[in-house]
Amino acid sequence: MFHKSGSVAAAMSAVVFAAGMAAAIPTSASAQDAATSCGTDRTIDIAEMTWPSAAALAHIHAIILERGFGCTAEIVAGDTVPTSASMLSRGKPAIAPELWTSSIEEAWKKGIADGVVVEIGDAITDGTVEGWFIPRYTQEANPDLTTAEAVIARPDLFPDPEASGKGRLYSCPPGWTCELSTSALYEAFDMEEKNWNIFSPGSGGALDASIARAFTREEPILFYYWGPTSILGKYDAVQIELGEVKPEVYACNTDKDCRDEPGITAYPSSPAVIGAAAWLPEEAPAVAEYLAKAGLSNAQISKLLVYGDENNADATETAMNFLRTEQELWTSWVPQDVAEKVLASLN
């Protein structure tokens, strides 16, 4: 993939070079345009997912596409399930900058096979984290709390304020795949018998606020979470061991129509890809080539998010800060002249 796109870029710059040598000014100008132009007149809509890393990525891509490639880019609100469903059925939005395909695996694979969508590259190059967490200070006070079984044996440490004598597991917002997988684990661990309640915070914002509250007051909390996120960057939480990953069990746990008993499994590390509608690489190959390179590691994303968090910056500001401070990183994703245009617009 990298080799191929590299050689394409080389061929393109060779064309520009040759045209320049011929000193035919109009031709060289149009050739240069061809090398870096967007390639399509269609509006490229980029899904801004509800969580911060995906939102920041969406804005980074939008700025580079608009200012560097001269595309008409537009940010649209989205979330894993609705966005992917819309991409699969209508080819819109064109780009999902951080799509966690494990939750929509079958439909997504089918879409790729049918040629409706493509995976352009990895959004997070070193994989993602997903699981149950407790604060580090809780584990330090109770060093044996490293496995799920040990934590489940102590509901008294994580009390549910609405039901005395029970523990509370903070689950996932309604409708997310993690709600199914976490409820299945709750059943598989037989936690109801062991005096636990599963609590759905109702929305991502409420889950974050609950976690922030517990950490601010140094209270114990057992919660589901995923990374890379600013929450895991900001609060020192440790993941508890759920055992090994059993892909078939996990697949059944997250399938509403699967009738088998839920089983115990860790969450598989899910691939977060840059997904795109199939027309994008066809009509705008230069953009697709850029996206294929535009992957970030967990550490890079956490750095990005902590800036946003500490400075109360919104996704646009976070994206602008990334473009200003990480020039070496992102200029390697785009052709020289695109980088120059974006840099010029930043000042």
Partner: protein
Amino acid sequence: MFPELINTRPLRRAVDDGLTWVVRNWGSELEAAAHPLLVLLNWIEQLLLATPWWLFIAVFVGLAALATRNWKLPLIIFVALVGMGLMELWRDAMITTALMITATLTAIAISIPVGVWMSRSQRVRQFVTPVLDLMQTMPSFVYLIPTVMIFGPGKIPALLATIIYASPPLVRLTDLGLRNVDPAVMEATRAFGASPSQRLFGVQIPLALPTILAGINQTTMMALAMVVIASMIGAGGLGYQVLQGIGRLEVSRGLFAGLGIVVLAIIFDRITQAYGRRLQGRIGVGEAH
């Protein structure tokens, strides 16, 4: 674009740090202060969940029959409630009803005194009116997340948010009803030497009762309108089903739960309205004598 005259970041950070400070230092006190509300809500919820479905239906069909003296409304309510049960929404509907009733009761306990106070003092009115405007127009998420941070997610913040959103119409209508009592009637009571409390409880409030009941009706409806938002901070109930439906793209689930909310709204709206009309009729008859 408006020029950046001052740097707002320190201010925003101060607000955020202030909230953190409150959460750290006052969290448990505030939580304890809100505990009675939770007890009331849990009690109503337990009661509703323990009530057999047929008894619940019978009570509401009976109330509707008493209020309207007609077979139409009781029939509609019977069909709607049975339909809701068949859609497997009974439990969620009871949780939602409990939240709505608790919020309405609390709103009544707070709003009517405030409305009475407002009707008697121009200055209080000048101060309370903008506060009510703020409560009604401020997007709920703005104060939901801070309330979750202070009280923890779940029923208490949901209840507080519902009360904030649902009380203003009752305050306004109580104030309006009391101010609209015929000055001639008030003059007569003074002439007969009635004390201020006799005037208020014996004359003004009974005459304003239809308006106050309209306010209670509005409060009930607005409390139901907050159901989905309340579920976004962990209140459960019908709103939660709507959220799940949206999240999983299950249009059917969202639609049925949404219709369940409509059923509850129709029941409470029509019954309170019917009682309001009967009351108005009775007061009208009283005046004719």
